[in-house]
Symmetry: C2
Subunit: 104 residues, 2 copies
DNA sequence: ACAACAGATAAGCACACACTTATGTATTGC
DNA sequence: GCAATACATAAGTGTGTGCTTATCTGTTGT
């Protein structure tokens, strides 16, 4: 199961912060670092974990590697969440917005 | 943030299995155990983690404690997911179904 | 009251994980 | 070619986590 990798990846606050930063737009590893007080190897390791969880994907661009949010990971979480729709509260505004967007 | 507790709770495969079992209906700790090859203290500890993450809630019933899925936790995940709706793939069947449910 | 039962808590242990420093591998510009 | 840059990997270390056994609390039935 890849759920294991996804939830493990998101269990770390630093990785969630990285993911959140990437949600603002694609970025290379160095740009991700500034303002984050994290060593270069640590960043590299975190990005590897996020990639393996399919939350982030990479694209080499010469000497740089650009990282961006991978929709596959989000879809997997959505799929997991959907299994428990019987227990959803009647109204979740955030989700209603989300789902309306998808319905066009 | 409670996202930390939620994702940490779901990062463990045993806890996800417990949660999945609870999704089929409320159950006490002993009933949850059978067929799971897990010690009584381990189950108790896992349930405590799930409760603190608001994924599960408990209700004492005499000598037993019944556990059930807590919608609050699912709502928190949905809220987290909604923040990244810009990156969702165009079609996710599971969520389209969900949308139809909510539109009624 | 007391034994049986349901569950929580305590303490200890083995392993996973996030970090570090050091080094390796590509790619770019001079 | 060669130094500098961007990033990955290796190896070691401290802490967190999930398990265990042992014990404790609280409830039920006799």
């Amino acid at each position: 199961m890849m759920e294991a990798e996804i939830f493990k990846a998101l269990a770390d606050p630093t990785r969630r912060a990285i993911f959140e930063k990437l949600a603002d737009g694609r970025m290379n590893a160095s740009s991700l670092r500034d303002g984050m007080d994290i060593s270069q190897p640590a960043m590299s390791q975190h990005l590897a974990v996020l990639c393996q969880a399919k939350l982030v994907r990479q694209e080499r661009q010469g000497r740089f590697v650009n990282y961006e949010v991978d929709p596959d990971g989000l879809a997997l979480i959505a799929g997991w969440l959907a299994k428990y729709r019987a227990y959803w509260p009647a109204r979740i505004d955030a989700l209603k917005t989300l789902l309306k967007d998808m319905d066009q």
